[in-house]
């Protein structure tokens, strides 16, 4: 497989890998590093790529495992992931200051969710994968995914309702 062929396979989903990594690692730089690592690992296994039915799902699983390892080693070292990118969402898409504030608020709520729920929301509500695909990626069964998803969505709704009622931005 040539470099170009590999890029053609990888390009459609590299952003998804990056977004999942960022969802878990929070910091943009770390997510970028993780994405590169995943792509390099894929390249090293390029001989086997054609055997995989779904390279995308396989890559997402790899990303998940890689980020979990990263988080574990961070915890072991008692380090907190430092990030300063609460506000780096695409600004052009946010018309109003108010809208930006509330979107940042959602971002904070998302960061507080357990890792599994973060991933499920990421893969379903942001990337719009089918439950079957998510099940493969996360190595879970579909029911467990629905449950996690429902919990995450309800948590977000509750927190948003609270802030909305208090008028706290």
């Amino acid at each position: 497989m040539t470099h170009l062929e590999f890029l053609n396979i990888v390009t459609p989903f590299k952003d998804k890998v990056f977004r999942l990594a960022k969802r878990l690692l929070v910091s943009r730089e770390e997510a970028e590093d993780a994405t590169q690592e995943v792509l390099i690992k894929l390249w090293k296994n390029k001989a086997k790529i054609k055997e995989y039915k779904n390279v995308e799902a396989f890559s997402m699983t790899m990303t998940k495992n890689f980020c979990f390892d990263k988080l574990k080693s961070k915890q072991a070292q008692n380090l907190k992931i430092v990030h300063s990118n609460y506000q780096d969402h695409n600004v052009s898409l946010q018309r109003e200051l108010e809208a930006r504030d509330s979107i940042n608020w959602v971002s904070k709520i998302m960061d507080e969710l357990p890792e599994q729920q973060k991933m499920v929301i990421q893969l379903r509500d942001i990337e719009q994968f089918e439950f079957k695909e998510i099940a493969k990626m996360l190595e879970m069964n579909e029911t467990a995914i629905r449950v996690a998803l429902s919990r995450a969505r309800k948590t977000i709704r509750e927190k948003l309702t609270k802030t909305h009622n208090y008028g706290v931005k």
Binding site: F18, T35, Q36, H89, L93, S102, I126, I145, V147, H164
Partner: protein, 159 residues
């Protein structure tokens, strides 16, 4: 319509909506105005849409970690080539005359001529000064006069 959205939200919160239904919700909440009692959902669906736009901006690695194995065979080929070239251009004790240019030769000749003229003039000078030797000779001849004075002294003593 609103009723439909409320039903969908209920299903959504239970994790039972299909992707198509979720898209309906996203479309509804991306409108400028939504029902006031559902407004708290707006930032959430907006967040999902905005986050979907985020891209991996770092350039992809060019080689993907394919290690470039350094080829020692080519290193030896290069070394032999350098050695041969250096032997070809190496000339032990190149004679100095070869390195003198035409202009330098002319300059040397000029200098030689100038020195010759100078020595010629110096010789002329010494030749002229050599007349002084004759004066010296005359001086010694004048010494004979002393002998003339001797008998005179004797004469004066006697007186």
């Amino acid at each position: 319509m609103l009723n439909n959205i409320e039903n969908l939200l209920e299903k959504y919160n239970n994790g039972e909506t299909s992707l198509k239904e979720e898209q309906q919700l996203k479309d509804y909440f991306s409108q400028d105005t939504v029902a006031p009692h559902l407004e708290m959902y707006k930032p959430m669906f907006n967040y999902f849409l905005v986050n979907h736009q985020e891209t991996f901006t770092k350039p992809l690695p060019k080689t993907f970690g394919t290690k470039k194995v350094f080829n020692y065979k080519w290193l030896s080929v290069a070394a032999v080539a350098v050695l041969m070239v250096s032997v070809y251009f190496y000339k032990p004790f190149a004679p100095n005359e070869l390195s003198i240019t035409e202009a330098e030769k002319i300059e040397i000749n000029n200098a030689k001529e100038a020195l010759a003229i100078m020595s010629k003039h110096l010789n002329k000078g010494t030749a002229q000064v050599s007349y002084l030797n004759i004066i010296n000779k005359a001086g010694t001849q004048v010494d004979y006069l002393k002998e003339v004075t001797n008998p005179m002294n004797r004469l004066f003593k006697k007186l």
